[in-house]
Point group: C2
Chain length 145, copies 2
DNA sequence: GTCTGTGCAAAAATTTTGCACCAGT
DNA sequence: ACTGGTGCAAAATTTTTGCACAGAC
């Protein structure tokens, strides 16, 4: 999967938000930095821990409010994997789905154009147009025997 | 989709549970009846409302405990659609995925062997074996133009 | 009679919100 | 300055749990 940092130059989110008429405050800038840095899928509490390490005055409410805002602006995606709380990841252009390691909680990203196509076909057959979708595989590492 | 009641004769769940060494109590029997009757995807509170209509002494805790039990025994499936609480449906033999109408909340079931196969392939390529999976399409009715 | 299941109330976990103050533009 | 954003504490929502009693086997 590797490094995708260059896909999110610092300020990418800032631009999205500014263009939407949203103020760039200190808490928001810090949260945005954390999201841009992370290649993972942290939940609100984890993001809060990371902001707290940088500026302990930032509240959990602000984290939640910012996540909701970013989601509405299309800057991040929210995932609710089985059982757990919402987890977030930035939304670059590239759509992908998730494979969750049920033993470690690790998330592997993947993408299948064939599956995407099939989904479209199915929706059309049922008389619907897809607005969004969610495909999650839950599995464990295969033992190389 | 239509009537699937015959796929769940009364007592189907009872057998599953009895075989698992679980006692068939009055609350459980009532909850099981509700699940067997419903062709829908109620959440815990809705199930509680339905049990309350039959026997108001049944508590919400018992509903939750029973749902968890049934899930563990493989008798029902839990779904967490975007935003909302867990919703449940009985697990017959037939696996299917869900298309959720984002306007009405209605759930349409579908199944695609081709998608299932592709999922297996993808997991294998990534070095995993699938334990479970979740595919949800969120969409709106297409206007017949 | 034994041991699991239940109701109740309290707690836990996650997320949202009212309000007075603060800060970005 | 104006307006939207923030921290805090309290509430809302969903789910779990401790405990004493009830009920299935």
């Amino acid at each position: 999967m590797g490094d995708r940092t260059e896909a999110n130059p610092p300020g990418r989110y800032e631009r999205i938000l500014r263009d939407a008429g949203v103020r760039i405050t200190r808490p928001r800038r810090i949260i945005l930095t954390i999201l841009a840095d992370g290649g993972d899928h942290p939940d609100a509490l984890e993001i809060f821990r990371r902001t707290a390490a940088i500026d302990p005055s930032i509240s959990l409410s602000t984290v939640y409010r910012t996540m909701k805002l970013l989601e509405e602006k299309g800057a991040i995606q929210r995932h609710v994997f089985e059982g757990g709380p919402s987890r977030f990841e930035r939304a670059d252009g590239d759509h992908h789905d998730h494979l969750i390691d049920i033993e470690s909680g690790e998330v592997v990203e993947f993408r299948s154009d064939r599956i995407e196509k099939l989904q479209e076909e199915i929706a059309r057959e049922l008389g619907y147009e897809i607005v969004s979708h969610r495909l999650e595989l839950y599995g464990r590492k295969r033992q190389p025997d």
